[in-house]
């Protein structure tokens, strides 16, 4: 967990110092340094400001980021929805292959939209889960919990990230299909 306002304040403060705008008339070395440092600053801010990226980074640094297999990733409570979604997508592909319109029919569209909403709800749930585990992690650090406890928390975070990644791919896939309209 991070105080977003404080983070932004620090980001802005460092930007004033490092930004290439201040070094236009400086020597080549200073210009290049400014470019390097400010890009590092921007990258760091981008990583820290997004809760998911932050956790990814944390796990990466600790060597705990492991992507799971597909089987592990599919949340059991969503198995049915995923199955139905795959059916709908197959239908859509068949329609296209047989020379039908590229856009989904009204019926298919409704099914896809339902799937999209369900998965987006799952994503929201996972984000909350991630926030909860992150808070626990902060507490564990603060109270000087042992390595085993920390590792367990990081494993849990890793799991959440994997599920999240899987579901997000599903949502993106569905969105792409829905966006296709006949011209």
């Amino acid at each position: 967990m991070i105080d977003a306002e404080d983070l932004e304040r620090r980001f802005h403060s460092l930007s004033w110092k490092l930004h290439p705008d201040n070094f236009v008339r400086a020597s080549e070395n200073e210009r290049q340094l400014s470019l390097d440092r400010s890009s590092q600053l921007n990258d760091a801010y981008r990583t820290l400001v997004d809760p998911v990226a932050r956790v990814e980074y944390l796990l990466g640094v600790a060597g705990m980021r492991k992507e799971g297999t597909k089987k592990q990733q599919t949340p059991p409570e969503l198995l049915e929805e995923v199955f139905e979604l795959n059916e709908s997508l197959d239908e859509l592909r068949d329609a296209r292959a047989s020379g039908g319109s590229a856009a989904p029919t009204a019926g298919l569209r409704a099914k896809l939209e339902t799937a999209q909403h369900k998965f987006e709800a799952s994503l929201a749930g996972l984000d909350q889960e991630l926030a909860r585990v992150s808070a626990e992690w902060d507490r564990a650090l603060g109270s000087g919990a042992d390595d085993a406890a920390q590792i367990k928390l990081m494993e849990r975070m890793n799991e959440v990230l994997n599920r999240r990644s899987y579901i997000r791919n599903l949502v993106t896939g569905v969105r792409q299909e829905l966006v296709i309209r006949d011209r």
Binding site: H12, S15, P20, R46
Partner: protein, 620 residues
Amino acid sequence: MPKTVGIDLGTTYSLIAYHDAREGRPKCIPGPYGSPLCPSVVSVDKDGSIIVGQAAQRRLLTQPERTIYSVKRLMGRGPSDVQDELKIFPFRIDPASKNVIRVRLGDRIFTPPEISAFILRELKSWGENYFQDSVERAVITVPAYFNDAQRQATRDAGRLAGLEVLRLVNEPTAAALAYGLHEQKRGKVAVYDFGGGTFDISILKLISTTEGDIYQVLSTNGDTHLGGDDIDNALFTLAREEIRTQGVDLAAHPETVQELRKALIAAKHELSSADRATVKFVLPDGGAQHNSIYFREIGRAEYERWIRPIVDRTMAPVRQALADAKLAPAEIEEVVLVGGSTRVPLVRRTVEEFFGRRPHAELNPDEVVALGAAVQADILEGGVKDMLLLDVTPLSLGIETMGGVVAKIIPRNSTVPASAQELFTTGVDNQTGIDLHVLQGERELAKDCRSLARFQLKVPPGPAGLARIEVRFLIDASGILQVAARDLRTGEEHSIEVQPSYGLDDAEVERILEESIEFAEQDFSERQLIEARNEADTVLRATEKALTREQAEAPDELPEEERRAAEDAVAALREAVAGSDYKRIRALVDVLNQASLPLAERMMNRALATVLEGKKLGDV
């Protein structure tokens, strides 16, 4: 003291502005006709001299095969990209064009950066004339949605025009700077920039910190081929069809196309304030019905029906930009309209309805981008110290991996400067090079993204998987990509040979610069010659007149040596004028001026004397 300027290099109009320190605000510099708007039109005369601006605009009608407009549409693109454009724009692409477009104007051939450089040089001369000092450094604006190749082409144009381009600034951001300075507002701002050829939407956050004001771009989106030109083309297509029903096929009369276009554009402008407009166009040799005029009254409602699809197209990027900024339309506190096409009432209504608030257009939509560029120029020169611009890259940067899939390494809307590191190694034993293909875009597959460049990393021979080459991709504050490679095992910096996919590489820019300096000398000399001859003309006529009068009025007062000196000088000057050495002409103009000075003084005294004579002694 050379001045640093801000330049808006627009599709339809270009402008140059500077920050007036005394008045504490940016100002546009007027051109020879008094207007700060320079039409982005370039024409090549039969003798090879280049004409830019209003004078070139007239030649669109009289010599269309030597004249080009909207060259911005060709910047940073390859010949195959612009095939669609050719259906509606009369660009004459040379068949020899490979990865850089070459355009034919008369019997000369130019690349789009060269043509843009002519426009920049014209603006540069406006600035130099205004300041009576040289203009060497500039901030040039680009559409926020311009990709790397388009940005590089713009920077190349600056170089070719003899300008040091300090920064490329995104047009909506520049407008926000001008607007922010003017309005002193804070909060979330949407800039809707609908110009002649491009559309941009940027979402910004304006924040006050202890150090000053920060203009932070949250997201940007757009369409680099959507603008007022599309409205013109829609009207043109409709008109052409109606004219066809009158029995005339305009395809057979290409020379009349520009006339019709001009009439339609006038009607379009009229329809921004009036309910109806009339188009009158003389048909080339009457058709079956021998109607010699195409006369069409266009009503506002009908016009809006025609252009609605074009205006609607602007809303998809708006929605995407808001989604990327994680904001709802209602959360935007200020909406700013930029670009001439935002004068269209339908555009204003659509934007107002979408955001639920009336958009700002107090600043002249044609000038605001140039003014903002001038502000940024001042910031860079250290004039203004309490404003900071944090802009973003509009497109994701990626590398092509196996299977033709793109791996994104810098996501879109990342604050610039932005960087990413990737580690590469060899796949087979003794492999000596690793090929990289860098792209921009949001799609999964490389073939659907925009190819930026291909590199080859040189690798020392060794077993597969041993090499460790770290490549650093850096997008600078102008949104342009820099690449550096380092061999992690040796610590050596590796050189990278970049093959730009759609642009001029450094060697070509150098070559064009060298050639253009020759041409520039020529163009420059020609202009000097014309000016020198004009000066000579003036002084010759004045001297002749003076000599004649002197002979008539006071022949005794003209000493023989003086008369002879003057006549000799006149003869020498006439001879020089017949030649082409402008320096010699100038020198002899000076000689004649000197020789005829006593003559002029005497004439002056006599004139005064006559005046004084007429007065009573008491009045003097």
